[in-house]
Symmetry: C2
Subunit: 696 residues, 2 copies
């Protein structure tokens, strides 16, 4: 965060912003202070804001505050709150950063971020699309295609990505699709079902089309046929009104109710959540979507910060210009920036509380994203059970989860992101991938699936295989904010040996300390388990350090060549685990500015490869990949593909933390039998009062 | 199923049993026919029945029946129903098998299963325990320990397992625990919290104790101290009434209701289930718990048979006599045999339908297990969603699942087993492991966790690490019962090469045919995906065979030495995937008779290693392992550890099969806001009628 320009002192603002908790999300008045200071610092310029963000106070300043808070001691003065503005001067290429002291209303410095570019937004994408459609180059291509009468061409701008050619200006690559006349007025008409065979490149600062790229649609690597025409293909509609065979009518309503209200509380700050001994901040973040801060359980710190750090979506189609397709949806766009307004009863079922999100408008005003996060409880099935076969007595509890959901739309694609806490001390992170796959044209009658890097999913539509590679940054704080180490356990068969393992059945767990910054992979052959530990506190029974483990399967990593631009940009995509020394400004696995990034400016690899000694200040980065070989079943809209990973206590507690969950009883749960004794569906309460009666 | 004794013709029974569907579960009258025929065949003997089972009719005889059924043609005469009885003559060691023709009421043959032993039951285990406690050898050990006054010693019989020493008689190994005086009358007192330092071996036929084994409880490999006494330790109670700090009281009720009834139907046969285009039989099975038979979707066959085939639970503690601990819970015991009676509102939440289970009593009468399977629908969160950012219109559906739950108690441990079908054409199999870990004594003051193969989880209690290795047998029938093949797809980065992959970003899927019986592993480095295909039917868009894929992570396999008895018995535990040629009598991955089995009598390895050519008759066996390094948090009862695997369509459908699920709307879902405008919890309907309103 060093500033290039000298910092300029400005007199304190007449009314300093009111003190807020050091870990609170950016407040609306803070945002206004940031943009005001930037505007005042740049008289005569029109600032177009991309981001107005909180720079989290240095952890070293926050920890004494949190410790005092936890111990009930008088809290020290909260650290100064600083903000970052990322902006352009209207019509210019230079990407600008300003750092301000929000607390004291002072500009600390401003600089041109040389070689970097700002993130996109839906609003900008729509402008780029309009510019593309207005271009004579594009019109010429449209003319060549001899499209059906009265159809509507849709421009779909994407980040430009990167390849070996240098691209100093900020660019977008734009794909084209169409709606036929008969459904072009439908708000959910699926234009992606009709991909056109060209794209264009737009210089965003000037909003001008600089190049047309033809898209390959045949078995060859390129398509340069000057006379290629559009071949009409069938619609692929997902909207319910457009289903030619109607909708299924036999899925009966299912209602979730909580007649005594919900079990969670939300603090007056609007983001401190208390539920089942958990207490933490669920903060909206423009980039990361949701950030959990200062997660505590029964008054004990567990995690300082947990967030999705980046998501890379590289496509396996090597044909130009498709080779650049590789989205970094957090860095190029922002999971919070494109968060949906979630709707009661549509996106969320049951008894719901919503949190709004805060972004900035181009002119520097707060832009509220209503209902960006929905919070609700969910029954999670059997919690634990045991039946004593001697007495027939069964003890059974149910598991309950508290779910935080945020759904993002990134052009064609949707991700639903979830932080989930449960009644047994586990934190889960879940991702659901849905929406519409990114597709390109397929010439009729050609077996494009034979190429191996994609599937023809409908007439004229080729869906290239791609990867979704997620990276989570986990900053642990197990019973303290100053003692974070990482180890991993491998389980090995013991050698068959008369003295120690005479029957050849023994196996043992061996622990490896991660004492230096490094990257490594999971390994199913040794059941490798990565644990975050507090090396200074042991479980009284096991005599091992208290820990939380990562439960995630080993998944395929980035498939691009180490010499490729994808690899240089990715940073986190070639190992499952990176462990780095804590630094306040190392939050995102591929680095900070991702639009047309060219690598070499930080990220998991660079940081892990420093190999510095770790001294109770380890941060864990977890990479989970999903190689999506496209299916017909994912078209025209994809049923959610679900990934869930877990953070589970290992000796953090002295016994099962769900032991005090009350038994599951019919008296409380009010279930019903589906059918009466005659096999007829029953609407009345067919309540069976005897509960957990002996089996014997 | 060859019989050793010559078959003996018996005159047809006066009233042949009524014809039932070839795939129907064993009926009560059929069970009575089996045991009656066996009794008639053995006059003067007292038969003690272990099992009375249906032998599924040969697939070759069933398929024409199913095809006629599906196509609405007149059905051929159903195949003869045959039954198998497994039994002992009271007080004798010979394990007997009889095969009967149920349809015609004829004994087909009977033989002594030389070298095999019958499965256990809870009733037998309790008898063994009583015999052990009555033995003078055991009494002497108890005396040595100088136990606290008025405590109660509990005997916990287990299967004997196997090791290199030959054990021709049927044995049980018995562990001992105690309850202190103060809680010995509590029906859920956790005696496992007080393990004693010896075990005994019982000859089951004679119910006599043949040997005492001392248990190691120190750092050495054995414990022979003739004067070792019991060292009292603290209780580890799981029962709610015994929680010293009380129960949490802030988890509010959560109710699930279906005001218009459930969406599924149950046929008059009690086991044919119809739900959301799925139609199949959910059959109770004494051994496998639940078997799905003839699973069809929208009238198209998908699977002929799906079931858990075996579960092996080897322990990593190499010390004698613990080295033999390795449960085969299906073959030694039976998931159906020890199924819980599930209770409305306790084990199952919402609107529930129950299926009963059928077993046999020792005297040959039907033994009903009430409510063995619970069936209910569950909301599964976001189904699919897309927002068109140009129009602001969001289309969103929810996913629904139909769940079949069976919970088994195997002594100390519980497994909840689930078949789950969803609205997007996917079938899931879920296992939840809970209950109480098998533990052994730990001498006070000794760091037994340092041994590497277990964890001291409480004062005096050592929980050895162990594995749960599950094996599923999947017999596919994709659009037909006669064309089953298996392939696997690997995804490779393409070499960077100017002509085909100039930017080094391409990757491709390569398919390998499994043309011979074989075993192989999953591989995350290539994202290996195993698919069951119909080689004779292609998806019209992708031009690839229609398929269902297995979605399961690669997990650690058996950790025992290939020379060990565990290995010889396991059969399925050293590869993730086995593919074999279909055979009517190859249903269980470790073979049929598991009590004291010694290997070499069939199972996945043996069958896969035949290496025969496959001819559209492939069966897939999937192994999933969980290496459980024990945690304090798993004690005294273990929060459910959840494993879910999936079977997903790949080109089986021409598009997303959930496309016709009606949109998720507040009008149907009736959600509520948790708090009113003042932040007060609201009990009234705070319904927001506007649904899915535009985000822009």
């Amino acid at each position: 965060m060093a500033t290039e320009a000298a910092s300029i002192d400005i007199a304190p603002a007449p009314q300093p912003v009111k003190a807020v908790h050091p870990l609170a999300s950016l407040q609306e008045d803070e945002l206004r202070t940031i943009t005001r200071l930037v505007k005042e610092h740049n008289p005569g310029q029109v600032c177009s804001f991309r981001r107005a963000l909180l720079i989290e106070p240095p952890k070293a300043e926050v920890v004494p505050y949190l410790e005092a808070e936890l111990e009930g001691r008088p809290r020290p003065r909260p650290p100064i709150r600083r903000g970052q503005a990322l902006f352009y001067f209207e019509g210019r290429q230079e990407y600008m950063e300003a750092i301000v002291d929000i607390t004291n209303g002072r500009m600390l410095g401003q600089r041109h971020l040389v070689g970097e570019h700002g993130p996109g937004s839906d609003e900008e994408m729509l402008k780029i699309g309009a510019a593309a459609l207005a271009s004579s180059l594009v019109k010429k291509e449209v003319e060549r295609l001899q499209l059906p009468a009265n159809c509507q061409v849709i421009a779909e701008p994407w980040p430009y990505g990167s390849d070996e050619s240098d691209t100093p200006t900020r660019l977008s690559q734009v794909w084209f699709f169409l709606n036929y006349e008969h459904n072009k007025d439908h708000p959910s008409a699926n234009f992606y079902g009709h991909p056109l065979d060209f794209s264009c490149v737009v210089d965003i600062a000037t909003m001008s089309v600089t190049r047309i790229d033809r898209l390959p649609s045949n078995l060859g690597m390129s398509n340069t046929d000057p006379n290629a025409r559009f071949v009409p293909n069938a619609d692929s509609e997902y909207a319910p009104e457009l289903q030619q065979n109607g909708l299924r009518r036999d899925l009966k309503p299912l209602h979730i109710s909580q007649p005594q209200g919900v079990s969670f509380d939300v603090g007056a700050d609007g983001e401190t959540i208390s539920w089942q001994k958990w207490r933490f901040r669920c903060c909206f973040d423009v980039r990361e979507g949701m950030v959990l801060r200062n997660v505590t359980y029964d008054g004990r710190p567990v995690f300082y910060r947990m967030a999705l750090s980046e998501m890379m979506v590289p496509y396996g189609d090597p044909r130009e210009p498709l080779h650049r397709k590789s989205a970094f949806d957090l860095g190029e766009c922002g999971a919070g920036q494109v968060a949906n307004n979630l709707q009661l009863g549509c996106d969320c079922l049951g008894v719901i509380h919503y949190l709004d999100g805060l972004s900035v408008s181009p002119d520097g005003e707060p832009a509220i994203i209503p209902n960006a996060i929905c919070i609700h409880e969910q029954d999670a099935g059997l919690g634990w059970k045991h039946t004593n076969i001697r007495t027939g007595r069964a003890d059974v509890t149910r598991a309950r989860e508290l779910i935080f959901q945020l759904i993002v739309t990134v052009g064609n694609y949707e991700y639903a992101l979830y932080w989930i806490l449960d009644t047994a001390g586990t934190i889960h992170y879940e991702i659901r991938a849905t929406g519409i796959m990114s597709v390109t044209p397929s010439a009729p009658g050609v077996d494009l699936s034979s190429l191996g890097y994609g599937t023809v999913v409908a007439d004229g539509v080729f869906a290239p295989h791609h990867q979704h590679i997620f990276n989570l940054r986990i900053d642990p704080a197990l019973d303290g904010y100053r003692s974070n180490a990482v180890v991993y356990d491998d389980t090995f068969a013991m050698p068959r040996e008369p003295a120690s393992n005479p029957h050849g059945v023994g196996f043992e767990v061996k622990t490896t300390q991660v004492d230096k910054e490094q990257a490594f992979d999971l390994d199913w052959t040794t059941n490798r388990v990565v644990k975050m530990i507090n090396p200074n506190k042991v479980n009284k029974h096991s005599r091992k350090p208290i820990a939380y483990k990562v439960v995630a399967p080993p998944t395929q990593l980035g498939l691009f060549d180490p010499s490729s631009m994808h690899y240089k940009r990715g940073e986190f995509t070639d190992n499952h685990i990176h462990v780095t020394k804590y630094a306040d400004d190392e939050l995102w696995g591929s680095g900070e500015h991702m639009w047309q990034s060219r690598g070499g400016r930080g990220g998991c690899n660079a940081w892990a490869n420093r190999g510095r000694q770790l001294e109770d200040d380890s941060v864990l980065w977890l990479t989970l990949g999903f190689t999506h070989a496209t299916r017909a079943e994912d078209w025209p809209v994809m049923p959610c593909e679900v990934f869930r990973m877990h953070f589970k206590p290992v000796g953090f507690f002295e016994q099962n933390p769900a032991l005090d969950v009350a038994p599951s009883t019919q008296n409380v749960n009010k279930s019903r039998l589906a059918f009466d004794g005659n096999g007829t569906q029953t609407q009345e309460a067919a309540v069976e009062p005897a509960c957990c009666r002996p089996r014997l």
